[in-house]
Structure formats: C-alpha cells, structure tokens
Symmetry: D2
Subunit: 483 residues, 4 copies
C-alpha cells in the first residue's frame, strides 16, 4: 500500500461543491489522501458565502479529534488539505487551506506542488510592501490575485496562474465559486468526480472517489482551470502552452494502489513494473519477497512473471506509526528493532528476490538485506521497480539535493556492495515507461522522469544555479548507521 520514507509528497487536496454535508465528505476524502501528508490538515467550508475553517498540526484524525470541530464547518461546499512538512516549517501558520477575510470578500486557498520561482516572486512582492504570513509558497498566488489589475476575478486568477512556475494543483474557494487549476505539465495528479447527488468533487487521487462513493469523470488537464458555481461546472484554460509530464514516482511509490492516474490503475502499473523487472532480472532464486507495504504489488507481478513463489518474508509492525519510544543505541546493537521483521521460518536457506520500489539513500535497503540475512536467507538479490534515482525533484517532492541520493554518487556495483546484496537489478528507464504504459504521444510516455535522467521538462528558475552547482559535486556518499 503506502508508507512514509525519505521520499515525501508535499500534499493532498480535496474539494466539493453541492453537498449539504460538504465538510464531512471532505473529511472522508482527505482521510483517503492521508498518505500524501501527515503533518497537518485543514478544511474550509462555505456556508452561503461565509467561509469557516479549522486546521491544526498532526493527522486528520488528530486535527478533528472532536466531532464539534467538524460540525462547525457547515455549508454546501468545502476544500481541504493534508500537508507534509519538513522539520523547520511545522508552524501552524503553514497549514492549509489558508483562509482570507478581506473587507470586500472571503477566500480560501490550498495547494499541492512546489513553485520554482517562489523565492524571486516573494522577494519582489515584499519589496512592494507585501507581508507574508507563512513560509510556504502557497500564499504567493493570493498576493498576485489581490494585486492584479485585471477587472474580473477569474482574469486576476488566470494572470496569477501564468506568473507562478513549477508544479501545482490549486483549489480556491470564493464566496460563490470553487476553482481548481493544474500546472502546464500536470506534474501532480488532480481528478474530477461526481457524487450520486450531483455534487462535484475534485481530489489529488481517485482513491478519494472510491471512499466517498463518487464516480470518476475525468482528470484535470495541464493548463486547465475549472470553475464550479451554482450554475454548474465551467471548463477553461489559463494557458495553451502545455505538455503532459506526470510525476513517474506517483506510480512507482507515492499514490495509493487503488488510485487511477491518467487512465492507469496504480496497483496494475506496479504489478507491470514487477513483471517487466522479472524479465530484466538475470539471477537464480527460490522465492520473491516484497518490501511491505509499497512493493507488494510489484512483488506479485514479479512472482507471476518469474513463476517463483511470492512469500511474506518481511512483516511490518502496523503500530509503529504512533511510537514515541525508540531503542537506545545499545539496544539497537543488540538487535532490537521495531518496524520490520524478517520471517526466518520463511526465508531460512532460501535465495530471496527482495523486490523494492526505489533506493533513495540506501540505508533502508541495507538494513532490510541485513535482516533477511540474519534470518537465514542464503542469498539476497535486490530488484528495484524503477531506474537509478540520480536527480532531485523541484515540482513537489521533498528531495532537493543530490547529496541525499546514493545513485547520484555511486555505480550500481558500488550500491550493491554498500547495501550488502548478492546482486542488484534496477528496472531500465524504457522498461519503466513501457510498464506504466500511458496512452499519449508526449515525450517519455507522458511521464516526468527527471529523477532518472536529469532532463527537467521546464526551466528551474530559482533552483537553476544551485542545481548546476550540484552536478559538479562528486562527494562520496555517506552511509549513516542503520536506524
């Protein structure tokens, strides 16, 4: 299914228009998007033009611990957000949706993605007297809208959308409208659905539709702006200079297996990645073991294609999520570990294919290989359902430096030795594109594969200089102690 590791989404969004229990439905929609952000959540509802919000740190269930906090959010429309935050910015002020009460209007805004020209835009706006409340880049759009001289509101919004660059999926709630907009490359997924009562819903992933019983209508297109109000849904574009480049890691790791993105079910994509990987794999083995939970689909595919039995050789403790107490260094050295156990009754004496989705820093892989060997595995062949991860992401995933990426600094052979495996196989880039198999003529099969080949579909703006500098660095990768 999905788990938190060193590669993190920066958010999930959900919006609804036309339901008497809009905030409740938003709660359940966000609940299914919780894997996209666990550090903050919020909902703003619209009750006949009056916007009401509640947001706080923590999981959605912590933010809405009391039913009354949700019940207060009355109204027929709502937008909501789950947030991933890096350590330094956990301030409650960054938790979305942002709710603005102007003397002449009320607005709420939330956002999934990352702007590549945020730093320069912010500086420019501050020099013109703007005061930013939060440190995230989301409120930039609101400043641009408020300062636009376009005579009409939608015109202001379009102007603002053409000013920001990067990956973004915005939801904007006004007193009488729900607006959704997607960046010109469609880096982040965003889908449109409809409930049986006719309410329109918009969500980062279609798994939200399954949960609320909504029907998927279509995906929001790059450059598109959707406006929903009492007259229904209106489709529009703010730019025609678009080219599809969906984040490939959504298929490989981020999205829930029950979501469908651009017409391809994520579990099926993963199973196909596993099948393709099995075709490219060239070693002898006895059993297939998927790393839970994200690689179980790929392991199924690998087993099916290779004819090897799929076994539960690794078990994850489902209660780790809430554990505050960690083993001391001394206990860790004595072998005390909490999150993952290797099942010796399953792997003892076996040549294991350990299927995983990706390798970021290598520390986790090294730890799992070690677990399997301590549990008696005769050989451990690591098979990764994606190519080598060599370049950072600037469109909404929390890896912005090459220093964290083991494959940016080491060959496959070196990585294999570092993680202690008997062999290491990465899926080829072409194999990945083929396995996911989007129906499109766009380059790279409509995927953003910059992680793997460094070819970014857009200019990098504020990140350009830093990125170029990083290409010259060839630091030997530092392996931290296994946690």
């Amino acid at each position: 299914m999905y788990e938190v590791k060193s590669l993190n989404e920066e958010c999930g969004v959900f919006g609804i228009w036309g339901h008497t229990q809009a905030a409740q439905v938003t709660y359940f929609g966000l609940h299914s998007l919780q894997h996209r952000g666990q550090e903050g959540a919020g909902i703003v509802s619209n009750d006949a033009g009056a916007l009401k919000g509640h947001r706080d740190k923590g999981l959605l269930s912590e933010v809405f611990k009391n039913q009354t906090d949700l019940d207060k959010l009355t109204g027929h429309a709502a937008i909501g957000h789950v947030r991933y935050a890096t350590a330094g910015t956990a301030d409650i002020r960054n938790i979305q949706p942002f709710l603005y009460k102007f003397h002449d209007s009320e607005l709420a805004l939330c956002h999934n993605g990352n702007l590549t020209n945020a730093i320069s835009l912010r500086r420019q706006l501050e020099e013109q007297g703007a005061i930013f409340n939060a440190s995230s880049d989301t409120e930039i759009l609101m400043h641009l809208i408020r300062r636009s001289h376009h005579p009409e509101f939608i015109g202001k919004v379009k102007e603002a959308l053409n000013t920001v660059k990067g990956g973004f999926a915005y939801l904007l709630m006004t007193e009488d409208k729900l607006i959704a907009a997607l960046d010109p490359n469609g880096f982040r997924p965003l889908s449109l659905g409809k409930m049986t009562n006719g309410a329109w819903v918009i969500a980062s992933e279609t798994c939200a539709f399954e949960v609320i019983g909504a029907e998927w209508i279509r995906d929001i297109k790059p450059g598109e702006i959707i406006i929903i109000d009492e007259n229904g849904l209106k489709e529009d574009v703010y730019t025609t200079d678009t080219q599809l480049a969906i984040c490939s890691m959504e298929y490989v790791y981020f999205a829930r297996p029950d979501s469908t993105i651009a017409g391809v079910n994520v579990h099926t994509a993963r199973k196909n990645l596993g099948k393709k990987l099995a075709q490219e794999f060239q070693h002898e083995a006895d059993i297939v073991v998927g790393v839970p939970n994200s690689s179980l689909s790929a392991a199924m595919g690998f087993a099916e294609e290779s004819g090897l039995p799929n076994e539960m050789g690794l078990v994850k403790n489902q209660y780790t999520q809430r554990t505050f107490i960690q083993p001391t260094q001394e206990l860790r050295e004595q072998g005390v570990r909490m999150k993952l156990s290797a099942v010796s009754g399953v792997v003892k004496g076996k040549r294991v294919v350990m299927v995983d989705d990706s390798i970021v820093r290598g520390t986790t892989s090294r730890r799992i290989v070690q677990l399997l060997k301590e549990a008696g595995a005769a050989e451990v062949h690591v098979a990764i359902g994606s190519p080598e991860l060599k370049y950072p992401c600037f469109y909404g995933i929390d890896i912005q430096t090459r220093r964290e990426l083991i494959s940016a600094n080491h060959t496959v052979e070196e990585v294999c030795e570092i993680i202690g495996a008997d062999s290491l196989t990465y899926l080829s880039l072409d194999g990945m594109i083929e396995a996911i198999g989007l129906e499109t003529d766009a380059p790279n099969g409509g995927l953003c594969v910059a992680y793997f080949d460094g070819q970014y579909p857009t200019p990098l703006y504020d990140y350009e200089a830093e990125y170029l500098r990083s290409l010259d660095e060839k630091t030997s990768f530092y392996i931290e102690k296994v946690k």
Copy 2:
C-alpha cells in the same frame, strides 16, 4: 498481518530476566504483541527486589507516551502485558501486570487466557473474607497463593495452579524470581527465548523474539512451570495430567505471520490453508483477492495452488486506527466508507475468489462482497480458510455466546445468500488440521478445534450450564446493517 475484528484475543505477555534495560526490552517485546490487546498495557520492573510499575489504558505507545515513565522502571528483570478488554471492564484497575506490596513481600502478576472456574472460585474466596480489586479473573491466583498453607512459595504457586481451570499463561515476578506457567492443554502459546547477553525471555509469540534479537529456545509445555532466578532457569511441572490442544485460531487469524507456534510458522500455515482451500474449491474464477491484512498469506497460497493471479483488489486505509469521526447514516447510504476500498481497476468484469480467514457474524463479509460487486466484479466466490465457526471459546477468546455466530444458526447455503456471494466454500476440518500440520500424536493434530465441532478438551465448569442451554436455542440470525 493482523487486524481487529469481532474475534479478539484477550492478551499478550512478555517477561525478561537478566538485562540492564529490562523494561525497555519489555516495551519492544510488547510492542510486537500489540495485536493481542490494544486497550491497556503495563510493565513492572524488578530493581534488586524493589518492584516498580506503570500501566494505563490505550495502546502501549499511549501508555508510555513519555520516556520518563519507562525510564523509572529500572532493574534487571520485568514483566509486561497488553490487554484486550470488553467495553464494560475498561477500568484501569483491570490493567495488568498487577503489582502487590505486602508487608513481607512484593509480587507482580499478569495473565493471558480465561479461567473456566473463576466465578465459583471468586465467590468462595469472598465468602472467606477476600476482597477483589479488579473484575478480571487474574487476581484469583494471587488470593490462592496468599491463602495456601504450603510451607514454600513455589509449593503455594503450584497448589494455586492446580486449583484454577481453563486456559492460562501466567507470568509472576517476585523479588528474586520470574515464574512462568502454562495451562495443562497449552491453549495459549508461550515461548522461551534467550538474548545474546544471556537474558532469558518469555513471550506469548515468537515475533517478540525477532524484534528484540533473541533466539527462540523452545515452547513452554502444557502443565509446565519455569522458574528463573540468579542461579539460572529451572524447569518443573505442577501437573502431569496434560494434553496438547493449541488454539487453532491462533494459526488461522490471531497470531502474527512471523510467529512460529509449536514448530510451525504462522504465515506458512496460512499459505498451506490457502493451498488446501484451493484444492477443495470447485468454481471457475479469474483472480484471487485476499481480504487485507489477515488473509494475504492464504490468498498467496490459494493463487499459487490454483494458478490464478493474486491481485490487490481490496485496499485497507492504514490510518483508520485512530479515526474518531465516522460517516453518518446518511453518508453511509451515499456510499461513504473509510476502512476498505475495492479497486475497480483490478476487479471490474472479473470472477473474483475472495479469500478470508473466517466468518463470525457475517456482516463484514457481506460488506466486502458488496464492495467488490459495486466495483464491477462479475462474480464473487468467497473462500474461507477455516471450517464453519459454530461454537464459542471459553479459553481466552472473546466469543462466549453462540448467538453471535452466524454459522451456529445457518447452513452454508443460507450464509452464502446472506452475504450475497455467488458461492461460499469453507475449508474442511480435516483439511485445516492437515494444512497446519503439527508434529504430534495428540487428538485433532494437537489443536483445539472446539470452535468448529463443539468438542471441548476440558470440562466447562462455570460455563457448562449456560453452554448447554445455548445449544437448544435456534434463533434466526439477525443481520445488522453493514457498517
């Protein structure tokens, strides 16, 4: 893996002797046993004869939210407990281990199981002036020990163990000893392990040993009493009138897949149950879908044996554990659901074998069949990895009335219709015994299968009359609305 449903364990125990961080190790051991009880937890440590305890309601991580609460539990030995509690008895007084401070000694006690003569023993003791603090049956043993006239402490304990009847795995900590004892049928699992530093550990399941890096030594035998002190481990028995009858549901549903009970790994047992089930299954189908998380192993086995592809057609939301807000009736009718989603991209148009471990009340199965059908499954064939569940348990599992069991009241055909499946297949009793495959000459392959055939391995004492009465009831089963 494991989940909470209407069938519940009543506890997990862990003990250690000979480690400078005994309470810490106990914490990590208990953490891996959390699936055996989520409603209370506690640890008592032994610091040179001084016993110190901490216990509270909630998950282990909530009970020990502050590191200081754990750090206070200094000493070289400890026992701990995770508790499942029925609603009415959630009082903190019932949370174990119980810690007794007498003028002449200190003692701590915890317990997994259920006594069948608790009511009459308690009444008898109260009539002799005894005052019980908690409503659980655990403290009966302490009263019996304190009132025994045997001149030696171990003699008192043995006398008490011969007085209580039913299923029990006790851990007892005195100022200078750690004592473990198992009932004469070994209904509940209890294993002995050793850490690399020489510390002895005892746990309800061997998964605790994997987590703390301990080596499994052997299982505790029925009727056995183990005494560990500064001179080492001493093996003894309090009765020789024993006969192995391990709870079969530990293999089918309760235990963690990475545990090994009586020499058989639980995942492997489940996979074999799935294979055997595939042999007995007599319908055409396209794909196999296991109900997460408990039936994934059985689904793997079913797929492997049948040659059908194993697919992730059902996805469980991993964040449901902590959610306080539930859909209203109105939203539920509109299709809003939180725990489980069927993946239409996977099941649409397919004839699905839905593999599950057991059917208790039928409501959950009915709900899942419906989910699959709504997601487009052409047919849903339910295959259950155990026989029909017809009789209650009196040895430590929280089902003590036939009224809750759909199969006590309905034929397979009726159940199939109630849950809305296209077919319903239960594994045969012989098939189950053979699939688990313990190496023993004991009846029923060393398993307690009373759930399925009503043949209880011991007299039922205080429950006898009630049980006989229940056999006459033939109430038509009430199907609650699907939650």
Copy 3:
C-alpha cells in the same frame, strides 16, 4: 482564605442521600472542599442499588473535565472525596472513594483522617490472607467489615470502627444506605445538613452547605454513627468512650473562613486570634500586613484591636497554582520570584507587623520577611496567630516528624534570628484556646493542642516508639535555601 503550604490536610469528604442529581451536588460540594486535597478526587453514585464511580488524579475540575464523566454517575445518592497525597503515594489506586463489587453486594468507602494502628492491623490482616490494593489505610475498614462475624451489617461496621484507632471521618455507601462515622475524639470536622428538597448531606466543612444551598443541622458527634436510608436518618453510637478534641489547626489554618466548626465561624475565630495576638504583642509599629491568603482575617483582627491601619503590603499571584515553569537558581538569585510580591509603595519606610498563622519550617517566613525588607520596610515584626508548633500530628495532618518543625529545635529568639525578623511574637496557648472559645467543658476548650504541648488525647499505637525516639533528637534545624 486558604493555600497549600508545608502543612497539609489529608482529605475532604461529602455525601448526599435523596437528590435526583446527587453526583452533581456532590461535585459542587467537593468543589468547596478542594482546599482540603488537590491531588485526587472521586465520586461514587448510587442508582437504585447500582454503584458507579469515577476518580482520577488532579483537581476536581481535572478529574471531571468532561461533563459526560459526571453525567454517567446517575442516582439518588453519592459520596465523594478530595485527596491530599504525599509524593510517594500518588498512585491512582489510592484515590477514593473505593468502590467494591462483591458477588453479594456493592460498597463504596471514603475517609478523612489517619489511623494510628494501621500498620499493625494491615500486617495482621495480610497474615490472614488479606490482599490490599492501595497503600492508604482506608481499605482496612472494609477488610474488617468483610471479616467480621457479626450477623448484621451495621454490627459489622460498628465492630470495625471499634478496631481502628486514630482520627477518622468515614463515609460508607451501601446499596441501600449512606453511613457516616466519626472517631471518638472528633479530631476531624464532619457536619450534617439538609437541602430544601429534603436531601440529607454530610460534609467535612459547612462551607459545602453554603455552596449547595443546604441548611446546617448539626455537627456529627465523636463516636457517632449516622445511618441514612429510604426510611430517613437514624442516629446511633459505636462507642460512648469519647472526648471532644477538635484539631485546633482547623481554626488556625486549614478550614475555609466561611465554615463553622462546633458552632464557631472560622473567620471569626481567626479575627479573634488576631485580636488576642494584638493584646499580647509588645512592639511599636506603623502598619499591619497579613500574609495572604490564610492570615487576612487575623490581620483584620490585629488591626482592629491595635488601631493600626491594615494594609495590603503583600500580594499573591493568583495564577501560580498551575505554573509548571520555575525560575532557575540563577534567576532566583537575581530576585525573580513568582508567588508573592511585597508592595514597596505600601511598606517603604514603615514598621510592619507581619501577621501569619503559623511557622512550620521557617523558610517561608524568612522569605517573606526578606521580601518586605527589600521592598523598604523599616522594621518587620512577625506576629503568629498560634503558639510554637513543636510536635507532629498523627490524626490526619501531614507532619509526622519533629525534624521538620523549626520550633521543635529552636527557641523563639533563635527562630526570630533565623527568619531575620526584628521581633517574633507567638500567641500563647491559653490565648489561642480563649480566642477560639468553644462552648464545652472538655479539656483544652475541646481542642486538640498536641501540636503545641505534645499532650496527645489518645495512645499513639504504631507511632509511639518512633515518637518517643524523636523527643531525644535535638538536631540543629537545617534551613533550606529560600525557594
């Protein structure tokens, strides 16, 4: 009014019979008794014979943070308790009322006071097989009742009351009765009242009656046992060997000024103590300053009698109660203090009579004298509204060793020097007895004055040996640094 210092009450009790909102009324009654114990609270209600309880650590308002916890305590009768606890025994198991569910009956019990033969009774009972749950001495009475062979319940209770020794005010709730009993000396106050609807109420102090709008009927007498049931109130005695000896410190310090004990209002008693003190005082001064809050009444009396103006020269911060952060040693040396401020605008250049109720260890007095001098007071004459505190209490006040009492170890002149005062005047023992002025022929005007003269009204049982030993110790008193 009242504050927590090193001299502490050990509890307050409240009971009611005959009110549809019995637990609610008990809540408000206990709320007015909160000064008698801040570390735990509980209520047990009686709903047609079914007893229900809720108790926890902390202030009453913390224990009943949720209205639902109170609402669950339905029924026509209730008893409640607020508890003071020494550090070591803050375990929730010690929080009262204790609720017992026997197979043949339900009982609840709570207690204000201290038994002098608790240790030997407990040992004796344990040797007969009794198991104590809590470390407090309260449950001894329940063991004695359950082991009594008297054929009738009230007979059992009387037998038990004649076995325990010391100071005690018990409330006992059975399925059909509310029972109150007071020790043979009436050390602890206990009063009977009646609400306008006819409900009987019993409380440690009459301030509870003011709060709930009840009328004071009379005080419970030494040796008395009151039984209230559906037939009304029945008066009885369990012993006639009684002699009134009310704790004098209830008047001096513990009780609320609005309470009336044995016919004397506490504020009036304190004012009279202040007047008498003014008569005995032999120094020149300009203003009177009472130490807030407990000595404001005495200061009023002193000012009135002496003709000196009464000024607010010391101000207490009312928010200190809940402050978790304390000044570091370094900040304390720089003069940062939180609880009490001297008002330089009032005391500068003045000869101040600082009126306080008592001196226990001397550290607080020394600190206040210093505050006044730093604020510019020309002279500080300390006047204490009670005699020198030289002997510990064994009847329910938390001072059980002479080592903590500065006057057990030092002369008045030495104490005066230690606290840095210009003079130190204690009220004479006769002056105190006269000022309080109970209408009785009992020795010492019906007061227990053992604090001051060491003449205990009863044998000391388990404390005897320790007490005699302490008389020989003449350790020089250790002055801790002012906090």
Copy 4:
C-alpha cells in the same frame, strides 16, 4: 488582587534587552501580568538577530506547559504578550507577538490597546493589495511600516505611529533593536525598569518589575518612542501633540494592587477611593464587607475612615478558575453556586456596607446582594468606589456599546432597586479624581474619565457614528437571570 468580570483589559506586554535568559525573564514578567489577558500568550526571543517565537491559546502556564518550548527561545532579548480575546476572535492567528520573516529582515510586534481608525486603515491598505492575516488591529502598524517610503527604519516607525489613532502601547523587536512606543494620551500604562545586571525591561505594569527583581526607572511618556540596542537606551518622540489621560479604570479595577502607575500605588489609590467613599456615604451600618478580590483595598479604606469593622463576609472559591462543569438551571434554583459564598456567621443580623469597585451590567451586584441577604444580613448598603459607568471605552477596554451598561439606561434609584440593595452610593467624579491624586496639571487630574462623563480626549474616528447613534437609544435595561 484582581479578577475577571465583564470589564476586560485587552492585553499586557513585556520586553527585555540584555539578559542571557531573556525569554525566561519575560515568562516571569508576563506571569505577573496574566490578569490583563488570559486567553492567549506568546514570547519572541532574539538570538543574535534570529527571532524565535512560541505562542498559543490559554494561560501562560498552558502555552508554556513544556519547559522545552521556553528553552528553545534562546537569546539576549525578548518581547511577550498576554491576550484577552472576545469569543469570536480566539483564533490562534490573533495571538501575539506577531513574528514576521521578510527576505530582508525579521521583526516581532505586540500591542496593548485599541486603534480608533483601524477599520478605515485596514480597508485602505487592502485596497492597495495588502493581505491581513489576523483579525486584530495590531498588524496594521507593520503594514504601515513596510509601506512607508521614509529612508530609515525609525523614520518609518514614527510615520506609522502618527497614522494610527487611539490607545496603544507597542513593543517592536527587530534584529538589533527593542522599540517601545506609547499613544499621545498615555491611555494605557507602560513603564521602564532596569535589572541588577543592567538589562532594560519594559512592562505594562510595575508589578512585573517586583516579580523579576527589577528597579522601576520611569513611566513611558505619551508620544514617546524608546529605542534600545547594543549602544544602550535612546529616548525620542514621534509627536509632541500629547496630553496625559491615563485610563482611570486601571486604578479602580484593572491593575494589580502592587503596581504603581504615574507615581501612585494602585492599592493606595483604592484605599483612598474607599476613604473618600466613606466620607460621601450617608447611611448607618455595622460592618464593612469588600467584594473579593478587587475591592478589598477599598473596603480597608472605607473601614478605616468610617471606624466600622472590616469583615470577611464574602469568600471566593480560589479554584473556580478551572471549572468546566457548571450547575444546571435546576440546581441553580436550588441555591447551588460556586464562585462566591456569603458567610452567615459574619453577616447574620448585621447592616452591611458592601464595597465594590464598579457596576457594569448590575447582574453580579444583584447576585451578591442576594447572597448577603440570604445569609441573614439585616440591610445591604452598596457603596461603589467609582462614579456611574455610563459610556463605553474605545481605547482598549472591552466595552464598546452603551447597551451593556446599566447606568447608561437607569438612574441610581432604579439601579438600587434592580440590584435589591437598601441603598446605593457611587463615589463622585471629583471624589475619584481627588482620591487617585496624580501630580499633574492635565485636565481631570491626568485621567481619562470618559466612562463617567462621555468626554473623550480624542476624536473617535471609525466609532464616531456608532457612538452618536447610541446616545439616542434609551432602551430599558434588560436584566439577565443571575448566573
């Protein structure tokens, strides 16, 4: 002392420069100002130019429940704030100090007072593109500063200070300066002090200096701006168009009795108000009873002047602060009350002078009169230590409508009847001015007495129209049921 009633301060501020434990000292300073605001608190520290903040809802002790939250606020300087908030604006975004992180600088700001042109300034700024985060008027100053075209920072600040109108005491922390500024009338108190280590401190009241061991240097003057940096303290003014008009209610009710404002100690002022009131009082009586806690000083003065004994006839429960459970209507009718008790042992049969500081809505007075009568008082003569409260405040006190003020709608005779007193005496306006007795030539003795005579020292700007309208309303005052 001080209590919360329907008349509320809007804040307290504290700042320090030059102390290694600046945030700790700020904590203790704010703690003594807690009576000025209980609904939110925050501190921002300055560590070598890096500003760090922590703020939350609740009492200071709740906001800083964990020592670590305070320890994180390292640095040599800090500002802090305690906030009073009306129900609707309890959003955490309004809690101060506000911390701004611009690309070119960091700033923190907090504020006590109320701007009279906030609404029009905000509208004007928003029309220029400004986005406000909070609903309070504090951040207006920051927008004005950031938009100022003055070339120097202090120039920008002065420009902004000349734009805002009303009552204000600002503290502003930049990377290298601490700035304090007071409005041109000095409506709100603000004082300068110095610690023994040389650190400068600024606080809303001098009681903060007593607590932290600082020496009072002088009060900040109307129109003044103080700049403290590493070169020391610099005095400056932003306007010379000033006229002293200190809020008279600070003396009467708000400030702590140990504070000194404009050279006059608050307790002494209150005692003098009581003395003057005794001179103007024209009835026969037996005893004086002050309403705790705010009127105890006035009662002392009244008793001293009149020769009547000062008695504790009313007792306040010190634990009410934290009580979440309130008596039901039914219980209230039966006489259950929690906050205040009348002491029948003191007042029975007596003609009581009940001294209180002011009457706002009359409901509290009516309740207390009733309490005294029920407790047996023969007569209750209410004596108020200030004139009739007829007009709202626009400079920082939470009464902005005449409808809430009983004296705006009723004559003294009517109020006397409504509250059920035997007589009602208000102190005359001249009497009040004389009793407080500031040394100044300013009108009304340097006091703002607009509450009493409706003569506001400044234009009312945004409030003008509303105020004029309110003068015409002559609604009969609605007396709510006594709570």
